[in-house]
């Protein structure tokens, strides 16, 4: 029997640490178990400590998904344990959720909401809003972040094994449809504004150097066979620039 007032608040707080024990064997599994534990306590209080320990052990098994959406699986798995779903089915539920929650979160957050809000912040800094742009970024980004975590946990707990219904919510599709073009628009606007902001203090020849390095760098980064990353390109470019800088006095 599921508790009438589940400790969702405590679970939500623990979900913020879900990746603290990330490892190559169980990935987020240990963090999943830690977050699920408050929701499982009633199993032990009902005098069935074997059910509690069994559920906790299952909770700590392999799991990997988007960290903001893990709550959906945590809530659903805990609800399934309370509903007396067989252990093998709970395991299958967890395994089945890894892929969809990972890809949905990656698309919605890492490739959408985060670059969108970061692009807005970059544009705002370049337009002279200073540190207020950074405060606005943190407030806006985290409003979406915390709301998504809270919705996921509540939806998972409310639906249990029928959790797939939550993933078919129309608002998730609408969010994806808005966030993706929004990200492209915001980042598109931010790039020339940031370039003008960064290039502003340079004299003409240095601005031209910025332009040449940016154009060559973009070509090299887009040339997939090179497998170049921004970090490697950056280290190579500043090393070469240091040599030129020393020689050109």
């Amino acid at each position: 029997m599921a508790p009438v007032k589940p400790p969702l608040g405590r679970t939500l707080l623990r979900l913020f640490t879900i990746q603290s024990s990330w490892n190559y064997e169980r990935m987020q599994g240990v963090g999943f178990g830690v977050a699920e534990e408050p929701l499982l306590r009633d199993l032990g209080r009902a005098g069935d400590s074997a059910a509690y320990r069994g559920a906790l052990a299952r909770g700590a098994h392999f799991f990997n998904a988007h960290p903001y959406l893990c709550g959906l699986a945590v809530g659903a798995a805990a609800r399934a344990e309370h509903d007396g779903i067989p252990p093998a089915q709970v395991e299958r539920l967890r395994t089945a959720l890894c892929g969809p929650l990972g890809s949905l979160g990656d698309r919605l957050v890492w490739a959408g909401w985060l670059p969108l809000t970061s692009g807005l912040a970059l544009a705002a800094v370049a337009l002279g809003l200073g540190w207020w742009a950074v405060v606005g970024f943190l407030a806006l980004y985290n409003a979406g972040h915390v709301a998504l975590r809270w919705w996921a946990l509540r939806a998972g707990w409310a639906r249990g094994t029928r959790v797939a219904e939550a993933l078919r919510q129309p608002f998730l599709r609408r969010a994806g449809a808005v966030v993706e073009p929004g990200m492209a628009l915001a980042m598109g606007a931010a790039l020339p504004l940031a370039a003008a902001y960064l290039g502003g203090p340079f004299p003409g020849w240095a601005r031209m150097t910025v332009g040449i390095v940016a154009a060559l760098g973009l070509l090299l980064l887009r040339w997939r066979r090179l497998g170049l990353t921004g970090l490697r390109l950056g280290l190579g470019a500043v090393a070469a620039a240091l040599v030129v800088g020393w020689a050109w006095r």
Partner: protein, 225 residues
Amino acid sequence: MSLGQEGLLLLWGILVGLDLVSVPQAMIARPLVSGVVAGAILGDVGTGLRLGVVFELLQHDILHLGAVRYPEYGPATVAGVSVAHAAAGALGIGLGAVVGLLTGLLGGVSLNAVRRLNTRAVQRASDALEAGEVAALMRVHVTSLARDAVRAMLVTAVGLALAAGVRHFLVGTLSVRGAMVVAAAATGVAIAAGTSGTLRLAGRGATLGWFAAGLVGGAAGAWLR
């Protein structure tokens, strides 16, 4: 820079390092945020913002998809700002970028090392975890969190030491013109990385049209300013 400021930068670097993966992923690890706070600690928000923008653009080259390995630009920006603040203008941005890129590389390597240590800890506690022992579960989780805090502290400390070394040995040896070459190279790469990362996300469909519209709008805005 006073010892108190160094201590605050180290503390800020730990919080930023923890935010990236462990807790709470509220994006204080983004270079724009870590840079501006590091700048505020040093009383130089302008330099923090400028270097924050450089590393924020570099950050856009990274996709946090799945369990990929990536450099860590949060503590890197903190260390970069500490050297950029000591050397004014373009000289500061160039040297800040050098320190930041090296610290970012170290941060990425250290993340992998911590994940390996976490794996060993989980393997050692495997029997207790399979028995559903809550104390073992909490112990593994909390010690992993502490491990990440130590990692973030070491990365920031090495970055700050690197910054001190650069302040002592590099600042006097580069001419203003030479420093400007370094700053221009770092800025150019940052713009390239930001553009490349966004193009990868936008793909080839209608989203690319939105990106082009944004570019036109942004270029007009920059020209009008």
